[in-house]
Amino acid sequence: MDKIFNQEPTDFEIERDLANLKALLAEIGEDDKRVANEPNEAYFQNFLYRVHARIEEPKKLSWFERFWKPSTMLALPSIVIISFFAFKGKNLQNNLMPSVMQNVENYIFPFSNLATQNSNVHRISSSDEPLAHYNASVSLILDRRQLKMLKAIINEDEVGVIEAITDKEN
């Protein structure tokens, strides 16, 4: 067999083996030309129609192609805009926030030297301190009662929540 596979066959050899195959198929009663579940004639009669329908239909897109374009169209400008504002915002924060925060801190802690003199070294050292930081948003400045409330909510302490509310009311 290896000998056969390693050399170019002559036409005689090919025809001989082909004839053997055909004889074998004839012997066992094989109809070598048919395929299983052959389509009927109507299939071929409608074939031309289906080809034309396919030519006219828009190109089938894969899921990636289908979603790539619209999502890119939406996502890319959004990313550019967000990046631009984020960059600009960071610069703004760096340039403007210290002075703004200084004023805020002056307002909140009028007697605190730490806050007024050097806000850059001011760090939140304990949870009792207000969450005021020159890099933080103003909305994060919480007083003791709010902190108490927040803690109670985080700890799911209903009594604590009520105490915080009553404390506030008092």
């Binding site: 195959l21 074998l24 094989e30 109809d31 395929v35 299983a36 071929f44 074939f47 031309l48």
Partner: protein
């Protein structure tokens, strides 16, 4: 009548502007041959149908650029063979990627194969062809069923005539071996069933 024209004359008619008429005639003329090439290559009717349609869609878009250097049918065959081989490769990759699913498919296939072997009228040669590598399969189909000359097959698959002959010869031997073995197994199964049923 357009049906009586030879391919070369059809091409001249196409160039003269009767594009749709010529295209329709080409589809009618070669649809069966192209379908059966694809069908014998990929086995499933749905896949063969898809490939056969795609062949003519591609031909429709590329016919303007067809220079007539080869026969139109060898050109169509080439598209069909390439699409079928691509399909088989994609199928292989898909099976490789999803091994669990593949195992299921194999299991089912094996079951189906057993069932099929039991059936009296299954074409063993069809199953034998499916065991051949893609290119060898294409060569065998074109030579055995369509009796295309080696030179035409050489144009279609892009292999030398000598290489093709070797390919075809290997295929013939492999198919004969498969058929022989499968027939012997089928015979044995039949005998076993006979003895089982008759004590």
């Amino acid at each position: 009548m357009i049906e009586e024209l030879e391919d070369r004359q059809l091409l001249q008619l196409y160039v003269s502007g009767e594009k749709l008429k010529v295209f329709n005639e080409l589809v009618r003329r070669y649809q069966k041959r192209i379908y059966y090439v694809a069908r014998r290559m990929v086995k499933r009717h749905e896949d063969a149908d898809d490939i056969a349609q795609e062949v003519f869609v591609k031909a429709y878009t590329a016919l303007d650029n067809f220079r007539g250097e080869s026969n139109i049918y060898t050109w169509l065959y080439r598209i069909a063979v390439n699409l079928s081989i691509n399909h088989l490769r994609k199928q292989k990759i898909r099976k490789f990627v999803d091994m669990d699913e593949y195992a299921d498919i194999l299991g089912k296939d094996a079951e189906q194969d057993k069932q099929i072997i039991k059936e009296e009228n299954t074409a063993l040669i069809e199953k034998a062809i499916l065991t051949l590598p893609e290119k060898q399969r294409a060569v065998f189909i074109m030579r055995y069923y369509d009796e295309l000359p080696y030179e035409d097959i050489s144009n279609i698959v892009g292999t030398s005539v000598g290489g093709l002959k070797a390919n075809f010869h290997h295929a013939v031997i492999k198919v004969a071996e498969y058929v022989n073995k499968a027939h012997a197994e089928r015979k044995m199964t039949k005998e076993k069933n006979y003895f089982k049923n008759n004590g």
